[in-house]
Subunit: 571 residues, 2 copies
């Protein structure tokens, strides 16, 4: 109440503003034009647009004052750092609000993981809103660290930063009206529900939309985008580390439908966030592709605020939070300073220290691997054709392939360079079930060595691949020692590692250290002769995701996604 | 939950739709184009857009299928009928959702009046949402039937059809941060708050907007509209019985800012609703003025839904309520059939019978006038100049005028035709205070007779004017007998009357009867020689509203609006 009164008195000119932005060109996000005006701020909120005096002046001479950006959908875990560290990395990009889905950590640590993410983001100078993971685990065909029911999710809706239900990925459960999915959708009917409508046809889109699912960030063509827009979905145009959809989707955006579009990163690695940016990159790219810069900014701010009902976000207007950027230039979207709730939070690419929350022991002690023996990795193949996963560089889909493999070769199957076959293993790491799924993957092209990681979508079991069992065993051992992370092994020697002890997904180091560790991993990959045209760890981490076609491997074995069932190696 | 499942199964093609719209051109409100598609409906909700079969088919061949309309702001009481009867009148216009402010009845009957309006609108085949009256009474300078505090309003927010706080009219209370206004605004911060920013300058707009007031329907110029849009307000373009702003405001609407505009009627009489229409008239007029018809329809549907957070309204899309119209023609916006929740609710201008709620005795026994004696109406004027209210035809503002009036004339002051002065009286009718305010009004031009009504904004005391005290006394007597309404008297004979026994504001008759009664009133006005270029009752009903400049009369006497204080007749 006091803040409301103070704001009114400032607007009325009875109190000086705490702070006034002067001399800048201010974006009017509603008429979409720049105006010359002062902006008065009090209590972190904009009190007025016009002529004002204040105790503190932000001189925006020669600058453009625009609302700060909102990432409509991001998995923080993909950056391998906790929310507090993620904020440090993306605030300099001009992003002061994100809507995150803690789906990865929820698959490992369940509700405790969600609570940790909420706590660690509580006192960060960034508004981090949450959508609740809807599909943990993604399928019953794997063992994740947790199973989240509607009852598990419901208490979180009372949290003021929880907006709704996150990307509903399990189309069959929706279409088949599975009781648990119906329960989750029912509880979220008056909230926001994000979709994940990869490749869905118009019938499936009807199913999703009539179920209350209102957004999609998985469009890859303009036609797909328009089909979704037509049915009242909002479309998030994604530019992540892997999935890059902007150039394909932008032709769908017109002045008449632009309000239904916004931007997201979804999954973006810490190094890409540092070098390329967050959704500021989407804005720049859209402008380069010919979109009106003001529409691009509106898509990255006002449209997201409207979509998620964030009524104090998205524009520079009285009553809204004073979240804004000073730009040197609009066309190049070069961010000079970043303000959140009227406070300078990043300048010249740097932000200040942000306090972290220490995760509980249960979260930092999440890797429970069996002591591997050589026979654990034995993969019996017959003379018949074997099912082989063929990876596609820079895609998360794979091809299912059938090949006669040489059962007499060194490791139970041929791994010659010309055939380019390597062993793939997924080892359950949450509940000590001892489950080990084994398979064969084509396309990694390693001359020698093994790589392993606990980042393995979505259940985040240990996933590893190698040219020989000894290196794979060594890699698993290194991962167990670190309580999760990434490891590169050659000749039974760990030549690089990146510890991710928080749920086996997040580092406890600051983000520049993580970037350095990733560089070391990259050097090690070069050393073992891994190909340079795609990211082997990233590719590896999706080979266990049983909702993406065609052939995947979980801790329960090979999984044919089309048929939605496990298959044996020689079936 | 069952409905959700049924909808999904229909979308998935596993169940036939209950109903399918076929062969029509369907408006895609998001891309703003017509598409050829079937629309499947189940449980009153749209299940899908595409190819469908159903038990029942709505053949839309040769028709355009568009979302039904939403009136963003309307006082039902201005139509002199209860919500159930109002629905019958406006459903044929294609309006199936309204956002109403029961401000008038609240001024008479307080929370009981609001409850009655909620009850009477509960089972109507129309979605009637409420905003809670923020300014009852409008000022402390009059006696209304009720005083509504923040505490009185708060319980109503639990009602699922109450969206927020209605038009905040009392700018001084906001700017001066009066405790009671701050309390009301505070309680509504996370809800919707409508504004009433008539004539407010940019400083005042900052005050309103930073206080959380998000809309305005009082703009009269395009410049005013743009100032409001710029600050993040939504602008409602009004076409009522008196205030008609569309032609002035439409030039402010561009493709870039159209999403911030919508339509409302605010105050529209039953006869105008029947002859001209509701917001369908705004749509037609906007199209005639050159606005893209699809943008006009979007403004009257999707934009309102977005503004008020009505997530199942505003378009034809899966998951949204099946509220739609069949149009014969788009340019002329000719409504053939009206559907709400999949049910035909109006056709060829007619709707079906709708059940009413019987109001309580307290609401139908609201007129408590003193037994008038001639001395009650005695107005002592001196030789000095008297303060005279000069009416302006078809405006609710008045001019304050000073005149020497002849104190020796028949009725205490001259009322000759050339001077065109008549006596004006406001008599408190709620609490038997015996308060009588007296004044002089110029401009009614009656040769003879008197008119009286209990529709007197905003306190709805009895207001009457006449050329002689006897006719005025007779008129008051007729009003008391009817428990409110309108009366026309000549030679001490009641020559026409319209009973409004519900709070002295609403009829218990059906709307065609009210239209006929209004016609009789109009004939009587002709009989007594009232001018034809403005509506005398309407003009009269605003002469008691002490928030509209310049000079008004309440039950407590003459009120100078500029100075915000009562004045005496000869001051």
């Amino acid at each position: 109440m006091d803040k409301l009164i103070q704001r009114i008195q400032t607007a009325a000119g009875e109190l000086p503003a705490e702070c006034v932005i002067k001399n800048g060109l201010v974006l009017d996000s509603y008429n979409l034009e720049f105006i010359q005006a002062d902006v008065a701020i009090v209590g972190g909120v904009i009190a007025g647009i016009g002529k004002f005096e204040g105790k503190h002046v932000i001189d925006a001479r020669g600058k453009y004052v625009v609302p700060s950006l909102i990432d409509a959908h991001v998995h923080i875990e993909s950056a391998m750092v906790p929310p507090s560290e993620f904020a440090k990395a993306v605030l300099p990009c001009g992003v002061t609000t994100i809507i995150t889905d803690p789906h990865e950590i929820a698959n490992v640590s369940g509700t405790e993981g969600i609570s940790y993410m909420l706590q660690d983001s509580e006192n960060v100078p960034m508004d981090i809103y949450f959508m609740l993971p809807s599909s943990v685990p993604s399928t019953p065909f794997e063992n994740s660290g947790a199973i989240l029911s509607a009852e598990d999710l419901k208490p979180f809706y009372d949290h003021n930063r929880v907006l709704g239900l996150a990307e509903v990925m399990d189309y069959p459960s929706v279409a088949n009206t599975s009781p648990s999915m119906m329960h989750k959708l029912h509880d979220a009917q008056n909230r926001k529900i994000d979709g994940h409508a990869a490749g869905l046809d118009t019938r499936a889109l009807n199913v999703y939309k009539t179920a209350g699912i209102g957004t999609d960030h998985e469009c890859i063509t303009a036609e797909e985008a328009l089909e979704r827009i037509k049915r009242g979905m909002y479309v998030f145009i994604r530019e992540g580390s892997v999935a890059k959809n902007l150039k394909q989707l932008l032709p769908a955006v017109t002045e008449r439908n632009a309000r239904r579009f916004m931007f997201c990163t979804d999954d973006k690695h810490i190094d890409d966030l540092i070098t390329e940016g967050s959704v500021d990159h989407n804005v720049r790219l859209a402008i380069q592709e010919g979109l009106d810069p003001l529409v691009a900014i509106q898509m990255a701010s006002l449209n997201v605020a409207e979509c998620f009902g964030l009524k104090t976000k998205g524009a520079i207007a009285p009553g809204l939070d004073a979240d804004f950027l000073l730009l040197d230039d609009v066309e190049s979207f070069s961010v000079a300073k970043v303000y959140r709730a009227g406070e300078l939070v990043a300048e010249k690419g740097k932000t200040k220290r942000i306090a972290k929350v220490t995760p509980s022991k249960r979260i930092t002690n999440s890797v429970h691997l069996p002591t591997l023996q050589k026979e654990h990795l034995h993969l019996p193949v017959t003379d018949k054709e074997a099912n082989v996963i063929k990876l596609i560089p820079n895609q998360i889909v794979t091809k299912a392939k059938k090949l006669i493999v040489d059962r007499n070769a060194n490791h139970g199957f041929v791994s010659s360079a010309e055939k380019d076959l390597m062993k793939l293993a997924v080892i359950e790491r949450h509940h000590r079930t001892g489950n080990i799924g084994l398979g064969i993957v084509e396309g990694f092209q390693f001359p020698d060595g093994a790589i392993a990681t606990t980042v393995g979508h979505d259940s985040h079991n240990l996933i590893m691949t190698g040219t020989n069992d000894e290196d794979m065993m060594k890699a698993a051992e290194a991962i167990q020692e670190m309580q999760g992370g990434l490891a590169v092994v050659r000749n039974q020697e760990v030549i690089a590692k990146l510890p991710l002890p928080i749920a086996g997904l997040l580092s406890t180091n600051d983000y520049p250290s993580v970037v350095r560790e990733l560089e070391e991993i990259d050097l090690a990959l070069q050393e073992i002769g891994a190909p340079r045209d795609f990211n082997p760890f990233l590719t590896l981490s999706f080979l266990s995701l049983p909702v993406i076609p065609e052939l995947k491997l979980t801790d329960m074995g090979l999984f044919n996604v089309q048929e939605f069932r496990h298959i044996s190696i020689n079936e």
